[in-house]
Amino acid sequence: MTDPTTAYLAKLERAVRELPQPVAGDIVAGIREELSGLDADAARERIAVLGDPDAIAAAARDELPPATTPAVGGDARWYTVVTVLLIGIGGFVVPVVGWVVGIGFLWNSRTWTRRDKVVGTLIVPVTAAVVFGVLAVTGRAFVAPGIANRLVPSVFGFGHSGLVLTVVLASVASAVYLLVRARRLSGVATPARDGDAGWYTALVLVLLLIGGIVVPYVGWIAGVVLLWGSRTWRTVDKIIGTVAPPFGGGLSFLLLFGRLGGYSGEDPPVGVIVVAWTLMALPFVTFVYLLVRARILRR
């Protein structure tokens, strides 16, 4: 393949990225079959006839009725939801493997563009590597010195270093990114018949899940306020979403309780461990619940 052809096809691929898949692929394949085999001069001539890739993409977009765009675009809704959930929290349910399966789902999907797939895949490892690198260079210990809190599972001792927290935040961030991009591609965000814009829904979910960690208590309260101000969920869902304890609040409660309860040196009773784990698992359950309920309303 000659040089002008390669450059033109690359530009064309970028231009049609936002178009639904069968059409985008057809355009690129149709023009590729026309340009390949031509020498540089002939290709240049043909490219001049074809015109600007952006104009080609714009013409295709005008020809696509907005209503049919989502159906042609991506995968079944459950597939998109499962992919987002696996990437967001799968790695905590089944360590590492859950996330890897999610990435497999992601690359097998038609809901996201290749660029989104790359971004969605890299967010977690890259941020983890950066934080790991910073910690290694600064020579800080990975396990927090001082009083060990046996009430909090040992990984959270590790978490003092920021690495686990980073992975949690990065996983949720990549899930939110994919969620927003999936909505954009499928055109679900635009109609907004029953619910709010996609970014609003995503913001509520993120604030409820980790807002309490980023800005203790205030972040979570902001999430609750936005939840009640939304049109995406029913009142029952809002009550359930509010009653479930915030992640940040639950965690700080545990850290505090662990110290006050004197569980620094010895193992706490099984009942207390169960409560601790439940407190930490609940926000994830709530997150999944609200995500699923938000989607059901949109059908």
């Binding site: 057809d26 079959e33 020809e63």
Partner: protein, 113 residues
């Protein structure tokens, strides 16, 4: 509004223009695009063609098959199906009546009396 009436008309019949072109023989994308543009501006750009072809395929009016070419990758050809042939015949029957009505209106005569 100063919408180009001609452009709207051509857009309205573009699907059937494709069916008419495919009546004789299967054609590939570039061929169709050139014919549609040269023979009356039925499409504005090759970008318009592919969503249109996707619609025709969804209606089972055309099918595709790939055939190796002398140079480069295989070409994707579009072929008229029996349903497509029937749709084209139907359009043709309606078109003559429709164009006669429009002519009559434009000339200011009435058909009935």
């Amino acid at each position: 509004m100063t919408l180009d009436a001609g452009a709207n008309l051509r857009k309205g019949v573009a699907e059937f223009a494709v069916l008419a072109l495919l009546r004789g023989e299967p054609m590939y994308g570039w061929q169709l695009s050139q014919q549609l543009i040269e023979r009356g501006g039925f499409i504005a750009s090759i970008g318009t063609l592919y969503p249109l072809l996707a619609r025709l395929r969804a209606k089972d009016w055309v099918t595709t098959y790939d055939e190796a070419s002398d140079a480069g990758p295989a070409r994707r050809y579009y072929r008229l199906t029996d349903e497509g042939r029937a749709a084209l015949a139907d359009f043709r029957a309606q078109w003559s009546g429709f164009s006669a009505s429009v002519d009559a209106l434009l000339e200011g005569t009435t058909q009935d009396d």
